[in-house]
């Protein structure tokens, strides 16, 4: 009955949101107004992560280019295809799907509407076996998560090596959602950088097999704390809230993911950032400038599409120097964080 209960909680939350929010309306004055449709995954706009960041990018593009923007929040996986089809059938100039989970839906709908442009965050338009269909009207917005993972890995490794963490047993943890490429890329960069900083370090990796239920991630985090980990990197979306909470309850540090999660929990010392807002804005800009091209666009430290944020931690100057040095080396290509799953 869990879902039903959440549903009613959702209704209460929705009432509160409705009570505070105002219905927006879009002024339409310009001559050629581009129409952009954004379809979120089931996380919804208030996920403080991908969907929210995509919306931030959309709003910025609206200010800069005067586009007409419309958003649909998918309520279930059944909604992806109809929601994408809705905008495509109305001949929108760009239809953006947020997230890996929509890859197959984008593959299907982009095949039906070859003259409509599509962009998808973190994925490509695929068939049911996950093969990229390489439709010319689909722009895939990928990220080098390992870049962002490496930066927070530097922080974790440096703290362990210099005895600035909570227990300093040279054990840190990472809690992934499902073992899919974006999640594993983050963890690969994190492990690599932490080991580079502190060769003695032991990186525990666990998966909750879930992206939404924070209790499941908390269980994994607790077991890592029991094994001596004192810095936990969550790579599990909404589920990862449980990791951040375990940070405070278990008396350890935690690291956020995707968006800046500073306010999610006092234990969050840093966040690995995947700048979905930059990617979304870029995709819209390309359409407005007539530069849309099918295929992959990669966002990384080099082009400002990935990075990190320092949160509830006072950074010692030596660590700051180290971070700047590593970031510079990744930018110049002298260091290349790995993306392979080797654990």
């Amino acid at each position: 009955m869990g879902h039903k209960r959440y549903r009613f909680l959702g209704v209460v939350a929705a009432l509160m949101v409705l009570a505070t929010a105002c219905g927006g309306s879009t002024p339409s004055t310009t001559t050629k107004q581009y129409k952009i449709g954004l379809v979120t995954d089931i996380g919804g706009l208030n996920d403080q992560s991908f969907n929210h960041l995509a919306y931030v990018g959309l709003e910025k593009a609206k200010q800069d280019f005067g586009i007409k923007d419309d958003v649909t929040e998918s309520k279930s996986g059944d909604d992806y295809v109809p929601n994408l089809t809705h905008y495509a059938s109305l001949n929108y100039d760009l239809v953006i799907g947020v997230g890996f989970l929509m890859a197959e839906a984008v593959g299907t709908v982009s095949g039906q509407f070859p003259s409509v442009h599509f962009a998808i965050i973190d994925g490509a338009g695929t068939d049911s076996k996950g093969n990229d269909l390489k439709h010319a009207n689909v722009e895939s917005l990928f990220f080098k998560e390992q870049d962002a993972g490496a930066m927070v890995g530097v922080i974790a490794g440096w703290l362990e090596k210099n005895g600035k963490a909570k227990k300093n047993q040279h054990i840190i943890g990472a809690v992934g959602g499902i073992s899919i490429p974006p999640v594993d890329h983050y963890i690969a960069g994190y492990r690599w950088a932490a080991k580079m900083e502190d060769p003695q370090i032991n990186v525990l990796v666990g998966y909750s097999n879930d992206f939404t239920d924070s209790a499941k991630c908390k269980t994994v985090a607790q077991s890592q704390v029991q094994q001596g980990a004192d810095i936990l990197f969550q790579v599990a979306g909404g589920c990862g809230q449980g990791v951040l909470q375990e940070g405070t309850q278990g008396g350890v540090y935690s690291i956020g993911v995707d968006a800046d999660q500073k306010t999610a929990d006092p234990s969050v010392i840093a966040s690995a950032l995947k700048k979905v807002d930059v990617a979304t804005y870029t995709a819209i800009k390309n359409v407005v400038n007539g530069q849309f091209a099918g295929g992959a666009l990669t966002f990384e430290i080099k082009n400002g599409g990935a990075g990190y944020a320092i949160d509830n931690l006072t950074v010692p100057p030596e660590l700051k120097t180290e971070l700047d040095k590593i970031q510079g080396q990744i930018q110049s290509g002298a260091l290349v964080p790995p993306s392979d799953k080797t654990w």
Partner: protein, 381 residues
């Protein structure tokens, strides 16, 4: 009464939209367009109708799976788990025998789904009939087991498509239900490629399920026994009905309906198991559909149409009118709330001494069911 509840919900919903600065007419216009394809402003009506029907199909079949046990005074909260069991069985068979032709494979996957769903619900039925374990508890637990089994199967388990994925292989072409219009990207129908219309022949199966339900309940001796057990187990036993057998059989049939819903969803729409089933709520929405439909076949179909249209229309409403599709959840909750509230009023009238002739009311709402062991008239046709 259900109609009144729906109207009341929409009125309150309009007030909420207006108070929060939105335009209720714009919101409901888009909702109706998205739900029923009428009063559209540029959207393709055929596309809207098609999308709504795709949502309606599983709601009808799972609605039946909740309504039937209600009649036996059993509360099946496990429709979701049974649906997942059915979808797992359908997918496993559809992959394993993917080379077989449609006339053989399609019946196999559908029957396989029904059997799996029946077994899933049958566990709860047997436990209820033998050791008296409450079916609410056991069906909820079986939901969790189904969801975790699914998780295992497609993340690291035998059905996983490949490393790093959270879905299964697609089922063979022979295991798929045909769409009503040809799934052809180049054929233009109603101004859009024919493949965007996803309505599939599972619609006929769902309608047949509702018809079978009505026939079974009112035209067979088993249906009579189910109703008798629902009204009073003691009286049924005195009349020679095997209560245990009836409970088990009822749950088996209900599970078969849910399992069929899951199999049809795989065979008709998804063609593979995906992580969307982790957060699927069809089996829970089915409880609302069964309540709103007053437990009759026609009523369930009508309630499913309403809920399917609300689901599809809510998405269009957000896209077109900028009103959060969460409004739809509010409308659904208000509908259920006012049904429950009316029901409480009706119950009060039936307290001995105050009782007049009861107006037609659904003898299905389980928490109150023990209070009303005599109320068992057929629902209004």
């Amino acid at each position: 009464m259900p109609l009144g509840s729906v109207v009341l919900a929409f009125v309150v919903g309009a007030v909420i939209v207006a108070v929060t600065g939105g335009n209720p007419f714009g919101a409901y216009g888009a909702l109706i367009c998205g739900g029923f394809g009428i009063a559209c402003n540029g959207e393709n009506p055929a596309l809207q109708v098609s999308n709504t029907i795709v949502f309606i199909i599983p709601l009808i079949t799972t609605g039946v799976a909740v309504a039937l046990p209600f009649r036996a005074n059993l509360f099946n909260i496990g429709a979701e788990g049974q649906l997942i069991a059915g979808s797992i069985a359908c997918t496993a068979i559809g992959i394993k025998f993917s080379g077989l032709p449609t006339p053989i494979l399609l019946p196999m996957v559908l029957v396989g789904g029904m059997v799996a769903g029946a077994l899933w619900a049958g566990v709860a039925g047997v436990l209820k009939a033998t050791v008296g374990a409450h079916e609410v508890v056991t069906t909820i637990m079986m939901n969790y087991i189904a969801q975790w089994l699914l998780r295992y199967l497609i993340i690291g388990g035998p059905l996983q498509l490949g490393p790093g994925t959270s879905k299964s292989q697609p089922i063979g072409p022979g295991a798929r239900l045909a769409t009503i219009l040809p799934a052809d990207n180049s054929l233009i129908i109603f101004g859009l490629p024919a493949s965007v219309y996803r309505v599939h022949t599972g619609l006929l199966i769902a309608i047949a399920a509702a018809a079978v339900f009505a026939f079974l309940l009112w035209r067979t001796s088993l249906g009579y026994e189910i109703r008798a057990v629902g009204q009073s187990q003691k009286a049924a036993r005195y009349a020679g009905v095997s209560v245990r057998r009836t409970i088990i059989v009822t749950m088996l049939i209900a599970g078969a309906f849910s399992g069929l819903a899951g199999a049809v969803q795989i065979a008709g729409v998804d063609h593979n198991l995906t992580d969307k089933y982790f957060s699927d709520t069809t089996g829970f929405d089915a409880i609302a559909v069964a309540l709103l439909g007053l437990g009759s076949g026609v009523g369930i179909v009508l309630a499913a149409i309403l809920f399917g249209a609300l689901h599809a229309g809510g998405q269009v409403m957000q896209a077109d009118a900028g009103i959060s599709s969460n409004l739809v959840l509010i409308l659904q909750a208000l509908i259920l709330f006012s049904i429950a509230a009316n029901f409480v009023g009706a119950i009060r009238q039936r307290i001995p001494g105050l009782a007049g002739r009861p107006t037609a009311m659904p003898p299905e709402l389980p928490p109150s069911a023990p209070l009303m062991s005599e109320a068992a008239e057929p629902p209004p046709a």
